[in-house]
Symmetry: C2
Subunit: 130 residues, 2 copies
DNA sequence: GCATATAGTGCCTAAAAGTATACTGTCGGA
DNA sequence: TCCGACAGTATACTTTTAGGCACTATATGC
């Protein structure tokens, strides 16, 4: 989505644009974690676990460019950078949460156990509509 | 999502699984078009326009494997194959439609014109909850 | 007889996405 | 004094994703 900014030339549909915004191996997950609160770079990295540093940076930059994530740099040493979800990003919350719940149902119906650390515990922390 | 079927080993969250199910350049779009009704292979291809035949087949196979799309082969000549959304797939409708509407808002707020052939016209044809 | 439509498959290549590793500079702690 | 934490960057590399073209088989239309 970030490479070619011809969002108006996407093949026919805002679906395509929206999908591209949250595709990319970790973007949905990043957004989802940030819904729960601001995180520093390494804290986010730890949450994600398997995401390489380089990729995480790239995805965060793209999310920032697309106005979904806010990056705040503190001029201190050692460096401190905080990532949080933007107002725009927060409007995605109902969809993200819906997708997560749907995924849970899907995994269950397919008899694939959902090892879901978040489903039951974290919802109170997420204001679903901003 | 289809390569390694260890859905229970996804990094921590059903979000990841759900996201992967509808990622892949055309999957969301395929699902979205099939929400409006059954389509034959070439009809779907025409709807999508820019999607290569080879890729479309691949994505359809994956969606079928994941139980979101139903493929029905008619033993006639020339061949006839119909693709439709499954019951399971239809449960994704509210999320897909939500995503599309959110994308529309996002494009608008960013002053990027949404060339959206579907937004206003097709909703009646889509039963949002199955 | 030839082109076209149907729904694909197979092989090869290009581009995008993602990984691994080493490196930056400064502070605080052992 | 050396190490680790912090938030990255740079370079080289592998893997995955996607695109292009040729080909299958048969019926219909011209």
């Amino acid at each position: 989505m970030n490479k070619d900014k011809n969002y108006d030339e996407v093949p026919g549909c805002t679906m395509y644009a929206a999908l591209n915004l949250i595709s990319g191996k970790w973007k949905g997950m990043i957004l989802y974690h940030l819904l729960k609160g601001t995180l520093r770079f390494n804290a986010l990295k730890r949450e994600l676990g398997d995401c390489s540093q380089r990729l995480l940076i790239k995805q965060l930059r793209e999310l920032e460019e697309d106005g979904l994530v806010v990056r705040q740099v503190f001029a201190v040493i050692p460096p401190k950078v905080e990532y949080s979800i933007s107002e725009e990003g927060r409007t995605l919350a109902p969809i993200l949460l819906g997708l997560r719940d749907w995924g849970h149902g899907w995994l269950t119906r397919r008899n694939l156990v959902a090892r879901d650390d978040h489903l039951a515990t974290d919802d109170r922390a997420i204001s679903s509509a901003g």
